[in-house]
Symmetry: C2
């Protein structure tokens, strides 16, 4: 293999492999252009060893109990013989360097377990950038034989969409009182969910049951894909991560989901779709970034933006003027995809 | 004025003005680069004469009665002294050259009225392109003194979002039975609505009343902006365009909306936001278009896409490779906005 880390990631054992994984992810997260070139070589080498794990996305507001749940689930899976990686997308990292998530010590038993690998969110970058690094880190973990990769995030900003866009199954965690106030559930997130989990169900059994009924009907009402959903219908489960109840039933549901989707061919289809969408998203991110960093554009942008904002210049004329400054002359922007 | 059409659009009268408007819009719709340059000159000249009209977006599925409603509304407004322009975004035009909408004769009285100007959808281009032309045509009509501009579309694809993104108020038309099957209402459209109209309410008064109640509670549940909505709460009205009942109450609601939003400063804010969003959308459209038309990209894209699709190449590596071919080397796409 051309990259020295690839062998150690794929075939390494124990502490040696862990160090290789950590180094590989650090390389991926580097913004140095030469590192980026190396990282691409490494990723391409690792790719044939990826794809056999199950990618599970988990989201929920702060306080819903994600860490406790992932710790309980991870230990349960390890007891069954799985190797579990936990990655995090912390949307706060792009602002503050990370505060909502990313604290390894949240999962005290899992984080020291030899069969688990926990990696906090990259500590800087836009959500798109952070998501890219996480997606690549996921491939590293898969190549290293972690057959369950959990990607967690909090219900803030667009991070759920990013997580749902890189996983096989997206799980939304709720508190028992959430059903009473469906408005509190962010728009667009409910219909991403393949499964909803009501945690802390032991605290108020009545509220949990009510929430389960309400969320079930909301899922039915706003099931985005209609018949496209196929044979799987989003479900709502109650559990208590703290008391370790319901974890087994949760995993049984995940296994059922995986089976149904594999049989339908949708699991592979989702991954292929995700990869292509990811490629185009990164291309568009790169184009935007190059545009905004262009010297000519930077010089013109303030004046032109002000002219548009104050109604002196039509928006479409402004766009054409800036595109011309970037070296795309006479663009009929209308020819681009909508 | 530097462009010969500008004077005739702004100060022309009767048939002369109508011809000038038609010529101006034809110029805007032209894809010839020299026409585009002229169109930008013209638009910039017209811009100071725009912005005083009210921009009303109307959407609904085929058969809901949009034409009948717009005809009734338009004649009602003209009787009150308004000049009414009706523009159309037909998402089918990009595929078939237009079939769902765009038939002038649908509004037989309004289309021949001297105080009305009706222009069908541009007959080709992507939705983004068609929407751009419509947005520009709206400015031409405004400069010509049309103080109510109605932009209609059907509930297909993303056209509602485009219309809501260029108007002051977005109205969704429904049939009386729609409430029975909220699933039939496309996701994401309901929360764009500032007002929902149940047409053909005379056909089944019970169903219309039931629909009104159900849609009202759905609007409350999924009111996207929460407190950002300000003092206006989306409403649901019943009417019958065919029997010409409820038109007056509809317009009274529009006037109330306009007043509330103007007082809050939100009407201007929405327009400024729309203009900036529009500029960036057109820039991104132009970038995408230039990228996809680039000779180097076109040569590499099939192979690279296939490699990503079949899992031989990581999506992010593929993106970097294609960006480099486009002349954007060493891009850390993560630096771009999410």
């Amino acid at each position: 293999m051309a990259h020295p880390l690839a062998g150690a990631v794929v075939d390494g054992e124990g502490a040696q492999q862990r160090r290789a994984i950590a180094k590989a992810i650090t390389l991926l997260e580097s913004t140095r252009p030469d590192h980026r070139v190396q990282a691409d070589v490494l990723l391409t080498e690792l790719l044939p060893h990826t794809g056999t794990s199950f990618r599970l996305g988990i989201s929920g507001v702060p306080g819903v109990g994600k860490s406790t749940f992932i710790e309980a689930l991870g230990l349960h899976l390890i007891a069954q013989g799985h190797k579990v990686a936990v990655l995090t997308i912390d949307p706060s990292s792009s602002v503050s360097g990370g505060s909502i998530l990313g604290d390894k010590t949240r999962m005290e038993h899992l984080s020291v377990h030899p069969m688990a690998y926990i990696r906090p969110s990259p500590s800087s970058g836009t959500l798109g950038g952070v998501a890219e690094k996480t997606r690549e880190a996921m491939l590293v973990c898969e190549a290293a034989g972690y057959d369950v990769v959990i990607v967690e995030t909090v219900g803030v900003g667009q991070s759920e969409t990013a997580v749902a866009g890189m996983t096989d199954m997206f799980v939304l965690m709720q508190l028992p009182n959430a059903g009473d106030d469906l408005q509190a559930i962010k728009k667009g997130v409910m219909e991403l969910a393949d499964l909803v989990v009501i945690n802390k169900a032991d605290l108020d059994a009545d509220a949990a049951t009510r929430a389960q009924a309400q969320i079930t009907s909301a899922l039915r009402l706003f099931s985005q894909h209609g018949r496209e959903r196929g044979a799987w219908h989003p479900q709502v489960l109650q559990l208590s991560a703290l008391r370790n109840t319901g974890i087994e039933a949760f995993w049984a549901a995940v296994v059922r989901f995986r089976q149904v989707r594999t049989d339908e061919g949708r699991l592979q289809e989702r991954r292929r779709h995700q990869a292509m969408a990811w490629m185009w998203e990164r291309i568009e991110g790169g184009l935007r970034s190059a545009f905004r960093q262009d010297a000519q554009v930077r010089e013109l942008l303030p004046t032109i933006s002000a002219d548009v904002d104050e109604g002196r210049l039509p928006a479409s004329t402004a766009a054409r003027r800036l595109l011309a400054a970037f070296g795309i002359p006479g663009t009929d922007a209308g020819a681009g995809p909508a």
